[in-house]
Symmetry: C2
Subunit: 227 residues, 2 copies
């Protein structure tokens, strides 16, 4: 029997890059899946391609999905991404950058891809600590999706292998994610986190994603190679 | 307060046309959603547009999604749709026309659309009796998806309204679906069921979908207007 296969959702951001490194370290044969969902930060797609090269992975599925056609988020629509110019506490509640049902949609596509490829592992770099504002980053959502996935598919129904959703970062602080990634060889200079990058792809340093990333590097006692 | 809103997944087939009629009858404001998923039977999209006109609904979202790029089904790939030329019992097990994780993906997109539109009802015309071979047509799958949906979204988390997945056809025989639809004004001459239509869109009369449809009309004591 060869290696077990894992579909890894890869956005090109800091978190998914680390989840990828953990999946590699765990010994899976990696099937990276990037969803090109009409996000304004298209630099994510470039970053994900660079990560694939960095880790010398041979295949990379980029799946196109125009979420902007259903709208409802500052990440896909013409709504301004909120800036946090005074470095205030990140606000409570669900932010405007939340994309309706994004992780449900992404995990569903990953599930379809996993089933076609006979993979029963899916990795997603969700993190419940820094993003508690996104309902679909919480462990109870992930557990429920896993149950649904096993009812939805051939693999689950025929019962020969159960589908497992892996969320290695779910309980980690941003600084430990960064330290873990560095140990596992992630080159964070080719990752991308900003919600609203400048025209040359450089981070704005003012959106929630930039601020969380900067804070993470600071707390890890490291310098963000992007800055 | 106006009417409650319902997203209705509409494929243009006999089942979803009937589910649409039931949703209208139930008094919802209808938001029809058709997924153009790269299916070979593109006539479905035309049928869904004709149904929208027939029921005088003002909006219709057609969401493009290239499932053929992940492959794995006779409905999207270059795999021959199986024909049942001797009118045998439809075989046991999961058929090759099963699209991996299709209903999970479709319901996820419907969920995103529902959330954007502030709708907390979703209708899907799945039927567990005739298609027991598809794992994602079973009631236990639908119930689990509903639980996941309520954990995944703003609406569910904030708890002000629960998301409800309606499957009015799930326990119905094909013949009762047809009788119900006719009572509710469905014009079955503009629906489309064949998995492998001829170049002019006419049904092949030999695939599982055609055979189930023919049998349904026969048992209802009616003539299929498509034949």
């Amino acid at each position: 029997m060869g290696k077990e296969k894992a579909v890894v959702l890869l956005s090109g951001g800091l978190d998914s890059a680390t989840a990828l490194a953990i999946a590699i370290q765990s010994g899976f044969k990696i099937l990276p899946l990037t969803i090109d969902y009409g996000q304004k930060h298209i630099w994510e797609i470039e970053s994900s391609k660079n990560l694939i090269r960095h880790f010398k992975i041979s295949s990379h599925k980029v799946f196109k999905l125009d979420l902007s056609s259903i709208g409802g988020s500052a990440l896909t629509d013409d709504i301004e991404v909120p800036k946090n110019r005074n470095n205030e506490e990140i606000s409570e509640g669900i932010p405007i950058t939340y994309v309706p049902a994004r992780n449900t949609i992404f995990l569903s596509i990953a599930l379809g891809y996993a089933e076609v490829k006979n993979a029963n592992h899916i990795f997603i770099g969700v993190n419940a600590i820094d993003y508690s504002g996104y309902p679909d980053c919480r462990p109870e959502f992930i557990q429920s999706f896993e149950t649904t996935a096993n009812l939805a598919t051939k693999m689950g129904v025929e019962g020969f292998r159960k589908i497992k959703i892996h969320t290695p970062l779910i309980d980690m602080e941003k600084s430990s994610i960064i330290k873990t990634g560095i140990e596992l060889g992630v080159d964070y200079s080719i990752t991308h986190s900003c919600y609203d990058p400048k025209s040359d792809g450089k981070p704005c340093k003012e959106c929630d994603a930039c601020i969380l990333r900067l804070k993470g590097f600071e707390e890890a006692g490291l310098k963000d190679p992007l800055i």
